[in-house]
Symmetry: C2
Subunit: 423 residues, 2 copies
Amino acid sequence: MGRESRNTATRRGFLKSGLAAGGALGAAGMANAAGAAGSAEIKVEPWMQELGPGVDAAPYGTPSPFESSVRRRNVEWLTADPVSSVNFTPIHELDGIITPNGLCFERHHAGVAEIDPAAHRLMINGLVDKPLIFTMDDLKRFPRENHVYFLECAANSGMEWRGAQLNGCQFTHGMIHNVMYTGIPLRLLLEEAGVKPNGKWLLPEGADASAMTRSVPMEKALDDCLVAFKMNGEALRPEQGYPLRLVVPGWEGNMWVKWLRRIEVGDKPWHQREETSKYTDLLDSGTARRFTWEMDAKSVITNPSPQAPLNHTKGQTVLTGIAWSGRGTIPRVDVTLDGGKNWHKARMSGPSLSKSMHRFYFEFDWDGKPLLLQSRAHDSTGYVQPTKKALREIRGVNSIYHNNGIQTWHVNEKGEAENVEVS
Amino acid sequence: MGRESRNTATRRGFLKSGLAAGGALGAAGMANAAGAAGSAEIKVEPWMQELGPGVDAAPYGTPSPFESSVRRRNVEWLTADPVSSVNFTPIHELDGIITPNGLCFERHHAGVAEIDPAAHRLMINGLVDKPLIFTMDDLKRFPRENHVYFLECAANSGMEWRGAQLNGCQFTHGMIHNVMYTGIPLRLLLEEAGVKPNGKWLLPEGADASAMTRSVPMEKALDDCLVAFKMNGEALRPEQGYPLRLVVPGWEGNMWVKWLRRIEVGDKPWHQREETSKYTDLLDSGTARRFTWEMDAKSVITNPSPQAPLNHTKGQTVLTGIAWSGRGTIPRVDVTLDGGKNWHKARMSGPSLSKSMHRFYFEFDWDGKPLLLQSRAHDSTGYVQPTKKALREIRGVNSIYHNNGIQTWHVNEKGEAENVEVS
């Protein structure tokens, strides 16, 4: 936070070059001065003269009708049935680092469990001294913490392994959201039950009809997992696990079991469907990487991008995007306008929190020629986001999961962007 | 952030005293063991067996129907007409520090201006070298910053000056919200226009039918004001100024002009209605304090509170609340269970950001006897939240604005809370 951009953006005359903005007022009144390229003018609009809707017109507010295109979207050919499907966060429409709850992408395996919280229970059983069943009221008597964490599906960008497929960062990178969770450290609930010495793994289970289960090592559970009941201040949304979800910071989203109803303690992993036939990374050798839980550092330019073209053809331009790492913070992002020939350090703005989304900006004076845009994240461990080429050399092109390669957008003279591959 | 509560909450057997929670599982199966006071049991529910709605059931998501009581509320007798009225954030239903956009309190003077962003303009005129008119597209070519700030109406808690009036923190303290803004430093737009040497004050003006105007000193504008277009990642909500609002961090909400259409630069304040007959603080002497912009440090316990009773009658209990200061951060909050005889240091959890809401907790083993709950915020300047008595000794009881006195809730043996005064 703070006033980090004081020095990078204090120059007066910011728009003097390539001015399409800020029409100067003529001495005679409201009309733009001759010579200014901008079309800005001021009219008396109805909303300046008429009373609008009063308070409580909607006790729970909704976005402006002019923002109706800001919505989650699926890719129809991707899945056979919406109950076992995904949609995508419109990251090209957002800024800052908080994802509004109504726009957090969905991934369900048996649709949304519509749970009555009064009937919901969380059981802890297996290798514990005292098996326990908690009501929601019980859980709210345990100490809570608040943390902002990104949640990324391991399959985010998965369709890009073999080349540029989808024309929009919503679809290539939109299986991510970033919210503030309020939850109970899982460690406290495990301590209450008393884990036996041979209890080394957990099996969280969802209360939806798919009974989603994943094996989670005890070390992670005791480190930073939360049993969360709020997101961005309010109750979890139904499609995000209401009333209870497991938060597994920095690790792949599939492990963040929604509608959490049970946590079994065991002495070894369970080898469930979602960690054998799914969520493993098939290599060229025919073997598969397993238990690749941690999300590597990654970034993407959200504006401009195929769904968000530039509305001008030269001059002062703002490029922005998001970056994140399952290992910590993102102290630095580089961007290139020419496909990697020259890299520039981006400006970060907003809180830098561990395992949270970060926001970067790069302002430049566009000469109107085509651009090849890329971003490259550095995380707090020193890891640098790789090229897709480097990833493919090691992992081949058969995987679906854990593609954190550098993304490229081509921007033409009209400001239109498309998803391209650079060698 | 981080793992701040490791040491305060690691003890096993957390609920052993006064156990009403976490029914132990009998060896025979799911039924609670005899002797456990909890009523928790597990049944097979419909949502565990049936497919729920698929993705995109609602492209923009909404809360669970079980959360329908979590909503903004007005106080009917308070204002004559909803177009010039207020409603209140349900702070007793929230946790963490982010207020969801749909729950941010409303305060309108001529209803909600329903603005087409393509038609919206921002003019900067008056004592500037180059008067300017910006479209929304123009503004998005300036550098942006992201900051979490609280917005509190100066009249928040105003009805409490003469004593306990309203039974619920939503009504006594709910004219506050806390979101992440994305906006352009106002300084950059003023530099673009070129402020003349005698330009010392600004008059931001709203595009609603009330044409809200307030005088803002140049020093504040150049310090940290933003011209914001996003809140919590997405476009401002209509009732929060869509498509553009002034953000005046730490200062009273009335100055955060919504539907911002014009900023005039002048050499002295304008003495508008909203800074003379309103938003001044009438003292016992018959004179009034003016230009009391900065919001003093304040806190309130949100749970338990009159709208949010305790659901148990003794044993382990979580108390939580919010604190904020217009001058910086909140490094410390104290709480008392006995009306101020004994004070305890609360546990803070969540990011500590300047001029942002902070969240505090205090966990205690309730003996079941009545409680007199209070909280007291300390801010980063060393200022300590005063008692109402101390405030009244200096300012009398005629004011409406800037009541940051310590709030008291009485909790009875049933766990029910009410708004009371302590001498």
